[in-house]
Structure formats: C-alpha cells, structure tokens
Symmetry: C2
C-alpha cells in the first residue's frame, strides 16, 4: 500500500470513529469515538458512555477492546488497529497494551490527559502509532461540546 | 486513629481483598483481589476475571470501581479507599485517577507491570498510597499460582 492509500484508509476509518463521537455528543457525552479494524473490517464500534453508565471506565477505547475481544473470541488483538478520535488516556493506553493492539491511530492530541505525557511506554512494545488523522474535525467536535456546556 | 489502629484496619480489609484473590485462584485466574471501602464499610468486592470474561480490562480494580460507583450512585470515589493485593497496573492506576479514589492500599509490588514504573503520576494528585500490607501473603498466592501453571 502506498502512503497515500494508507492515509485514505486511515481517514475512512477515522470518519467511522467520528460518527461514534457524534453519537456521544448527541447523548450529552464528551464526544470521543473509536472503532477496531481487523483485516480491513470494522469489528467494534463504541463511544464514550461515562455519564450514561455513571462509570469512569466506560471510555470509547475500553468498550471497543471488550467488544472486539468478544467478536474475535480471544482477548488479544494483535492483528487489529484501533482508531480513536482523541489521544488515549493512561487507562486506555494501559488496556491497549494488555490487549497487544498492533496499531493505534488517533485524531487530535489530548493536551491534559494524553498517555504520551503520563505513560509513554504503556502500549505494547511492538505497537505503532499514527496521530493527527482528521485532527481538526476531532478537536472541533470536542471544543463545540465544551463550549455548549459553559 | 493511631498508626497501629490504622495498620490493623488496613490488614483487615486487605484480608478481604485476599479472600477475593483466593476466589480468583480457584477459578483459574491470576489471583488478584480488591475491595472498596467507604466510611468503614466494604461497598465493592471483585477479583480478576480476564480469562473467564475473555477481556483484558476485567482486572479486579476495574470491576471494583464500576461496582462501587453503582453502589454510590456517582462515578467519583473521593471518599473511598481501594485495597488491592497487587500494585495496580497502568490501566488500573489511570482508572483510579479518573475515579478520584482518595486512598489506595496495595499488598505486594508488581515488579513487571506496576504503575509506579510506567505512570507514577496516574493517580489523582490528592491520592495517598500505602503499600506492603500483607505483602508476603499476597505475593505467595501469586507465586503459588504461577508455579502450578508451569
């Protein structure tokens, strides 16, 4: 695959993660969405549900990992890519590490709680990371949400 | 409370976390257990279920946080102490941070995956940590488990 083809593919799946983030927004949740892709197919979609479930662990990535493992019938996701609209937090990065997710693609940086500032080695040592895919759209959605809550 | 009274109390609740770890052992799970205590009362008990649930996120602490939040009807656990037999990992420390758990008491150190080596600032800035409570018993149970699996 050329770099351009890869970027197109990444943007396609990030847009699906953004669809999830928009669903979160409509439900009054901080708009973060995630999808897990395995062999070119989306096997899990999830969005932040911390308010609805009254549970700080209900981040998009955490739910996506659980759903993907159920779908695959195994708890390791070595052949999967996780797309998420916002840089994962420490908790989610730790979970991605345990699940051995091979590739993580995120939209915009989390300036306050991103894993890179708190736990840069939390992911699996063989994991690769791509950042900045549709970053502006991912960030705009979050900013719009927080503005509406003021 | 005197230091001795506090230690006695901590040992009492750690023993309840050990009861959970032993339950995990009997189910073929890596034996780690946790309890959440609020105003002197246990409001959540949980043990590792990663194999049973086929889910890397099913650590004792994660489940204990979810159960405690349900019990209290609010997702923040500022007035709670979490007791866990093993030093939390990055994922669990991140979750404890989000839940704003005020005090964390753990048994033995996790030499390989403990949060202190990977994400020392993952907990809430106001959280206090006590380690080494019934550490030998907590460690022995883990060692016995891994020995039996060889």
């Amino acid at each position: 695959m050329t770099t351009e083809e890869q970027l197109k593919k990444d943007e396609y799946f990030m847009r699906r993660a953004l669809d999830e983030a928009e669903a979160a927004y409509r439900e009054g949740e901080i708009p973060v969405g995630a999808v897990v892709v395995c062999q070119g197919r989306i096997i899990a979609r999830a969005h932040n549900l911390t308010e609805t479930l009254n549970d700080v662990t209900a981040h998009a990535e955490m739910q996506a990992i659980t759903i993907a493992a159920n779908e695959l019938g195994g708890k390791y996701l070595q052949d999967c890519t996780l797309y998420v609209t916002l840089e994962p937090c420490v908790m989610c990065a730790g979970a991605l590490g345990w699940a051995q997710v091979k590739r993580i693609v995120y939209g915009c940086k989390d300036e306050k709680r991103g894993y890179l500032d708190y736990a840069p080695h939390a992911l699996h040592p063989k994991a690769t990371v791509t950042s900045g895919i549709l970053a502006e759209e991912c960030r705009n959605l979050l900013q719009q949400f927080f503005k509406s809550k003021r």
